[in-house]
């Protein structure tokens, strides 16, 4: 378990913008992940994705890492931002653009 935690921590800290999702950016395997990708693409963000379906340890571990029960999960500069609902709210209010823009 702490092993998964360490791996996730490394991923989150090693990438400015990283989305844990089901599937890939090209082939999202869930409507919520698809929505998250659409938002990031719309903002022209450069991001990494981690497909939790390919890694059972991370799939379970990511839920505990941020005490968040669902995927997708967006992290910016090491900080948990939220799931796709929060991303959508922040996109609509312009906050997400600001957050990602500031990192670019």
């Amino acid at each position: 378990m702490s092993d998964a935690n360490a791996r996730i921590s490394e991923i989150v800290k090693g990438n400015d913008i990283v989305l844990f999702m089901k599937g890939t950016a090209l082939f999202p395997q869930c409507g919520f992940s698809s929505r998250a990708i659409a938002i990031l693409d719309r903002l022209g963000a450069k991001y990494e994705t981690i497909d939790v379906l390919q890694d059972a340890e991370i799939r379970q571990g990511i839920k505990e890492y941020s005490d968040w029960p669902t995927v997708p999960q967006l992290y910016v500069k090491g900080e948990f931002v939220g799931g796709s609902d929060i991303m959508m709210e922040m996109f609509e209010s312009g906050e997400l653009q600001q957050l990602l823009g500031a990192e670019a």
Partner: protein, 82 residues
């Protein structure tokens, strides 16, 4: 195993008594819901904390037996405008 909208609402208001809960069944299959939860207890909480409070109210069902819950949370408007 699908969950009834009334059960989701009951669990949320059991944990957050003043919550105003509006639930929509998105797909008509008892498995894809959208919930809007408004509570005074959310005032001053980050969005992440607000959503976590709702997830906690649902006691680990989100992501499991409740596959898809699109969530929107807010404090009452008067709180937001002060």
């Amino acid at each position: 195993m699908p969950m009834a909208a009334s059960e989701i609402e009951r669990l949320i208001t059991a944990a957050i008594p003043d919550a105003e809960v509006v639930i929509r069944d998105l797909a008509g299959d008892g498995d894809h819901y959208a919930a809007r939860v408004v509570s005074r207890s959310f005032a001053g909480m980050s969005r992440i904390k607000q959503h976590q409070a709702v997830y906690a109210a649902l006691g680990g069902r989100v992501g499991g037996e409740l596959h898809a819950l699109q969530l929107e949370t807010a404090a009452p408007r008067t709180e937001n405008l002060k």
